[in-house]
């Protein structure tokens, strides 16, 4: 195979740090044709590039990082039916790493790549049919936004929610940042729309049990737990809720806008299920909707794609003992507070009375190496909003303890001003301890809060009635199982990583699976909706085409070399390999070409494309031999 080399000068970035002439001379001597262009990525440069490639040739580009223009050059050379393609980052890996070593490094890269090219095995482009259904996992605001959009366009959508009601955490918000508008007024229309959409199939109280198949044709098994209330019959009158003798009641319909509008019976609390002969709810129901006899049900679906919107949960504040959460009365989290607001419950302080002084503690667990080393971005806004509500509704003195205030949107600053005008205090510092020991005898019945005021550079103590902890965001429980079920890649904190953080934020490495909402990192309501709809758009684009082309065949299996230990089947992180009558089958759409199987295979029966192990070994060989 004849290989042509293309050097990009990168407008001097490469050519001024690297003696391209000398490189050319040394490489031409081995019979390779070399072209050079000042800006290979420019339209003119691309044309220059394209015009010089002949079918069947190998192409080696020495330019900038493969992440930048790599795909363009690759596409062009494929268009010209080049047999092999490789790109080395002459700019980042040679020219810019110091003039002294630039030439040697460049030579190593180029000669290694040249040798590797002779082992190049092109992956195969294949066509796969697509089923049109869409599974959305998670019925929070992101998931339902995605589901609605997709269903609106006519796709069959299956929305799965683990809890008995849809809406996620948003339905338990009272007011929204930054304009303090009514949350439910904004969220509830979306919830109502869920029921209207006939393409949308709702699965509350359901979890994903198994996912098989491939992009475009997943076979999903869902397991629906019993509600014990027939939501078809129930019209949500709520009579049953009133007669339940258990406290807290065993039959509930918590959210302000319950969807579906039918209560749920919690078997663990229900007297009927604990062997007592109670059936008051059943007796009172005129619609005969109570169904004690319900059992878990399995649903099998065929879908073409999956949107994962499993959301977040607040960091468990009880993991930080010195805040006293779940130990001291009067210490609650922001999410407890929101729930109390939405249910219009009374709010009590440490001594059981309406609080007169409230501390709002930001960054609970956040930006702390022992807990969450990152900032969740959203919580400051939520905390500020809660502080204002506490001030305005309870006329309490409010103190914010923060590390840095990160307020989003242009209106954020205005809200902060409003808070300050209302007399809310902002103390920059870390809270060291909250204790029930009164500060002075007069403070009997109040909590003592010790904090470092970093602006005043002193340790100070406050007596407060209520502490509102504002924890950072962590992935919702169960997202780890979801990751392994769908073979997604979580980052080190457990959030799902997008394919490209900036340019493909809702795509995952897996074709046919997208992420939406806070499952990929902390997001506020609008961002969640945004990413939900973005995911829906991606899903639509994918599912509305009858088939897709994909580069496949990343792994070659050699029958006669295989010892059939089948370790590869177990090792594959994407479950792309299986055994079929003593032969290894690669599920082409599941295989990501990571190479873990090939590097685990003892007998060398598996080889990676486009560069098998020999390419690496030979690259090293020339690198050591010639440079």
């Amino acid at each position: 195979m004849k290989v042509k080399i293309f050097f990009c000068e990168c407008g001097g970035n490469i050519s001024e740090n690297l003696d391209l002439k000398a490189l050319k001379k040394e490489l031409t001597s081995s019979g390779t044709e070399i072209f050079q262009h000042p800006f290979l990525c420019s339209p003119e440069g691309q044309a220059f590039f394209e015009a010089r490639i002949l079918p069947g040739e190998g192409v080696l580009v020495g330019a900038c990082s493969p992440h930048l223009h790599g795909p363009i050059f690759k596409e062009l050379s494929e268009k010209r039916r080049a047999q092999a393609f490789h790109l080395v980052a002459l700019r980042e890996e040679a020219a810019w790493l110091g003039k002294k070593g630039a030439y040697r490094r460049a030579m190593g890269l180029l000669k290694g790549a040249l040798r590797a090219l002779s082992y190049y095995r092109a992956p195969v482009l294949k066509k796969f049919p697509v089923t049109e259904g869409l599974l959305v996992i998670g019925g929070g605001i992101a998931g339902l936004s995605a589901a609605l959009k997709a269903a609106e366009k006519g796709l069959p959508v299956y929305l799965v929610e683990r809890e008995p009601f849809f809406g996620g955490k948003a339905v338990f918000l009272d007011r929204l940042y930054p304009r303090l508008e009514c949350a439910s007024c904004l969220v509830s229309p979306r919830l109502s729309a869920l029921i209207q959409q006939e393409n949308l199939h709702l699965f509350p109280l359901t979890h994903v049990f198994e996912v098989k198949g491939r992009p475009g044709a997943y076979e999903v098994t869902l397991e629906e737990r019993p509600r014990y209330v027939d939501s078809e019959r129930c019209h949500g009158c709520g009579e049953c809720l009133r007669v339940c003798p258990v406290n807290p009641p065993a039959i509930t319909m918590d959210p302000p806008h319950p969807v579906p509008r039918a209560p749920v019976i919690h078997a663990a609390r229900c007297l009927h299920f604990r062997g007592e002969s109670c059936s008051r709810c059943k007796e009172v129901c005129t619609r005969k909707a109570i169904r004690f006899e319900q059992t878990p049900r399995l649903h099998r679906l065929k879908v073409g794609g999956i949107i994962v919107a499993t959301g977040f949960r607040p960091y468990p504040a009880e993991k930080i003992p010195y805040y006293g959460y779940k130990r001291l009365p009067g210490v609650i989290t922001l999410w407890d507070l929101e729930r109390m607001f939405t249910r219009q419950e009374n709010i009590y302080g440490f001594n059981g009375e309406s609080p007169r002084r409230v501390a709002v503690i930001h960054c609970v667990g956040s930006r702390d190496r022992r807990h969450l080393p990152y900032c969740s971005e959203i919580c400051c806004s939520l905390a500020l909003k809660a502080g204002i509500l506490l001030r305005e509704r309870l006329s309490a003195e409010v103190y914010h303890f923060y590390l840095d205030l990160r307020l989003k949107t242009p209106e954020g600053e205005g809200l902060l001003r409003r808070a300050k005008e209302e007399g809310i205090q902002f103390i920059r510092g870390q809270v060291a301890e909250i204790s029930e020991v009164p500060l002075t005898p007069e403070d009997e019945g109040r909590l003592t809060l010790l904090a470092e005021d970093t602006l005043g550079s002193e340790q100070r103590v406050w007596a407060v009635d209520l502490v509102v902890l504002v924890p950072g965001f962590v992935p919702e429980t169960g997202s780890e199982e979801m990751a392994s079920l769908l073979r997604l890649c979580p980052d080190r904190f457990g959030f799902f990583s997008p394919r490209e953080e900036k340019t493909a934020p809702v795509e995952t490495l897996r074709k046919g699976i997208w992420i939406a909402g806070a499952a990929s990192g902390p997001k506020d309501l609008s961002e969640s909706v945004l990413s939900g709809e973005a995911a829906a758009l991606e899903a639509l684009l994918f599912l509305e085409t009858p088939s897709f082309w994909a580069e496949t065949d990343w792994i070659e299996w050699e029958d006669r070399r295989c010892g059939r230990c089948w370790l590869c089947v177990e090792v594959c992180p994407f479950k792309a390999l299986h055994i079929d009558l003593e032969r290894l089958k690669v599920e082409e759409t599941l295989c990501c070409g990571c190479g873990l199987c090939a590097s685990a295979c003892p007998s060398g029966a598996l080889r990676m494309k486009p560069f098998p192990r020999e390419a690496h070994l030979q690259s090293l060989e020339v690198l050591f031999g010639e440079t």
């Binding site: 050699e558 177990e570 003892p602 007998s603």
Partner: protein, 269 residues
């Protein structure tokens, strides 16, 4: 047919004297020029043979001393066909493990290129026959690409490991693949041809037939496979309890390891 046979650094177990019964006609017709196990003849006489004067020279064992080197070169010169027999000749064999202490033997292939290499420690009779007949009929066989696993009777399923095991620590009557039991069985990195003898006799494969054709770094490959099977949570503990890394990976071929050849390993104590 004139033949010569000699053992270099070896146990003598690959000497053609052990294969007489496998090729009775060959040996009956052979004219033994030099073979100290069956004939009172000295190297002196052998040196006087004209170059290429002997049809087949069989060499067993590894090379350690200058005398060994001399014999190897002599054989290459005097014999039209040089046949290397056994793991020591091919890869240094078990004594190659001495390289851990910087003074092991080398395979004879590091000095001359043999025309035929018969693998095994020792080769099975059937292997000897296949190779010799192939040679005599002008189609000398090379190493097989297929691993011992293809001859192994044990059952195989996808597996994960929580620990490495030494083979007596496994369930005695278990029929499962040794890898899946956590044993460093070399079957997957060893060429077939022995009929999986050891595996049929209750031993894991120790790897004496050497790598299948084209397979390099078999020790590293076996290691990579075994570690890849480990459940991550148990891996540290398993690695800590792993005995004799060098012996279990390079039992017969440490002498051919690139780091050994480069003189980059081995401690002198």
């Amino acid at each position: 047919m004139k033949i010569a046979v000699h053992n270099l650094l070896s146990c003598g177990g690959c000497d053609p004297v052990f294969f007489l019964e496998e090729s009775p006609e060959f040996f009956r017709k052979a004219e033994v020029i030099f073979w100290n196990k069956v004939k009172d003849e000295t190297l002196k006489v052998f040196r006087k043979i004209p170059d290429q004067g002997i049809e087949i020279g069989f060499l067993c064992g590894a090379v350690k001393s200058p005398e060994h080197e001399e014999v190897v070169r002599l054989f290459r010169r005097k014999c039209r066909t040089v046949v290397a027999v056994g793991a020591c000749a091919l890869w240094g064999g078990i004594p190659g493990l001495l390289w851990i202490r910087k003074e092991g033997p080398r395979p004879l292939s590091s000095l001359v290129v043999p025309d035929l290499s018969i693998p095994g420690c020792p080769p099975e009779g059937s292997t000897w026959t296949v190779y010799l007949q192939g040679l005599l009929s002008g189609r000398p066989p090379g190493p097989s690409e297929e691993p011992v696993c293809q001859e192994c009777p044990r059952d195989r399923h996808p597996f994960r490991l929580s620990d490495f095991k030494r083979f007596p620590e496994t369930e005695p009557e278990s029929r499962g693949c040794y890898l899946s039991l956590g044993v460093f069985c070399a079957g997957a990195v060893t060429q077939k041809g022995c009929g999986a003898r050891c595996l049929r006799a209750g031993y894991p494969c120790l790897g004496c037939y050497g790598p299948p054709a084209g397979l390099t770094a078999r020790g590293e490959r076996l290691l990579s496979a075994m570690v890849s099977a480990l459940v991550p949570q148990k891996a540290t503990e398993a690695l800590k309890n792993w005995r004799d890394p060098a012996g279990s990976l390079y039992r017969f071929d440490l002498a051919t390891h690139p780091l050994v050849r480069k003189g980059k390993c081995g401690r002198s104590d």
